[in-house]
């Protein structure tokens, strides 16, 4: 297992983890209607920064705080940078990752995890494996995506967006909202008090590229893997993907029931942040850890390409 020794969130709701948690606890949402942010795009509801952000500076600013908090040296050979993103800096994923590692003077080639909406959870799983294999001592996992005309137009063509703030798991749900944010978690292989990443699992539905399996096959298998040996009643919170699209939430309900987790408290954060894509898995894990404080927290995500991922974190 690996241990969380630092974290940070920069989002439209706040400039650090604490201000983000406070905003969520007091029910603030970053979602707003945008009518003329991008040319040709129909009005949409999203959580966007008031001032448009540059990808690399946003990531480095976010990671700096988390690295400082962790006490590790970013320029050490023992540290690996892992970037979770779907569209990176204007469709370029590798160059920004190299720039971020260079910014911190890190000598190792960074890893970019691009596994659709599950990237942020998958990146944490990659960090866990590399640290457990003894390849590095610490991993800086950064999740980030910035909304563009490219992304919004595509989701509109998919008829996947809700014109108003999304309603996960509601019978009235009309689709998802997009969002932008950066989030960072620093993991270490050295035993440390506080939250630790216990287990992770990734499964494909092998069913459809853009629609989840109706039997929740991949998500069910992930949940089964990460809850092995633990009683449902001992799980404090399960952070669902909860995009508020008709298919996703129905699929997650099926997967939860199949895994015997239907009575576990769940949380969906998209009404606060929208779907922050590459950032979602990291951001929603940090908020989950902060809300639970002590106990077991499960985070699950599903995405295009039929991929699903889940992790189990614990704090005693």
């Amino acid at each position: 297992m690996v241990y969380c020794i630092g974290h940070n969130i920069i989002s439209p709701l706040g400039e650090d983890t604490q201000s983000n948690v406070k905003a969520v606890q007091s029910g603030h949402s970053g979602l707003k209607i945008y009518t003329d942010r991008f040319a040709d795009v129909e009005p949409f509801c999203a959580s966007l920064f008031a001032t448009p952000q540059q990808f690399v500076p946003l990531c480095t600013r976010c990671a700096e705080t988390a690295i400082r908090q962790s006490g590790i040296q970013g320029d050490s050979n023992d540290v690996i940078f892992i970037l979770s993103t779907t569209k990176g800096d204007n469709l370029d994923l590798l160059t920004p990752a190299l720039s971020i590692a260079r910014h911190f003077g890190n000598p190792n080639s960074p890893i970019v995890v691009s596994n659709a909406c599950t990237s942020g959870v998958c990146a944490q799983i990659t960090a866990k494996r590399l640290l457990e294999a003894g390849l590095y001592k610490h991993a800086v996992v950064i999740g980030c995506d910035i909304q563009t005309r490219f992304i919004v137009s595509g989701f509109q063509a998919f008829k996947a967006l809700s014109p108003e703030p999304c309603l996960p798991f509601s019978p009235e749900r009309k689709g998802l909202n997009l969002g932008e944010a950066a989030a960072t978690i620093v993991y270490t292989a050295e035993p440390h008090e506080g939250w630790r990443l216990e287990a992770g699992s990734i499964h494909n539905d092998a069913n459809h590229l853009s629609a989840p399996s109706r039997t929740g096959e991949g998500a069910f298998r992930c949940l089964q893997d990460v809850t092995e040996g633990i009683q449902p009643h001992s799980i404090s919170l399960l952070g669902v993907h909860g995009t508020a699209t008709s298919y996703n939430d129905a699929m997650e309900t099926v997967a939860l029931e199949r895994a015997g987790l239907q009575n576990v408290p769940i949380s969906a954060l998209k009404p606060f942040y929208g779907h922050t894509m590459g950032a979602a898995g990291v951001l929603e894990t940090i908020i989950g850890m902060q809300l639970v404080q002590k106990g077991t927290f499960i985070k699950m995500l599903s995405g295009f390409g039929g991929v699903n991922a889940a992790i189990q974190l614990r704090c005693e």
């Binding site: 063509a157 998919f158 008829k159 459809h208 590229l209 853009s210 629609a211």
Partner: protein, 85 residues
């Protein structure tokens, strides 16, 4: 009408990438989804975009496509009644 059906068949083949298929291979009265051409949900969204791009018809609700995309003939009839270009 027959001319519109032929043109529509060609546009469907092009926009849905039906390699090796000619308009003659598509039965104007056969169902587009399920049996027949076996289209899926992404194809349905692509057909919605085709209506917009080629005929200036905007479908806000993707569910409305179900009734329109029953066959090429029904689609052509809908286009004739609603086209803006």
């Amino acid at each position: 009408m027959e001319q519109l059906i032929e043109q529509l068949k060609q546009q469907i083949i092009e926009s849905l990438n039906f390699e090796d298929m000619t308009p003659a291979d598509i039965d104007a009265d056969a169902p587009l989804f399920g049996e027949g051409l076996g289209l899926d949900s992404i194809d349905a969204l692509e057909l919605i975009m085709l209506l917009d791009r080629e005929y200036g018809i905007k479908l806000a609700d993707p569910k409305a496509g179900k009734a329109i995309f029953k066959s090429v003939r029904i689609m052509a009839e809908y286009i004739q009644a609603n086209r803006t270009k």
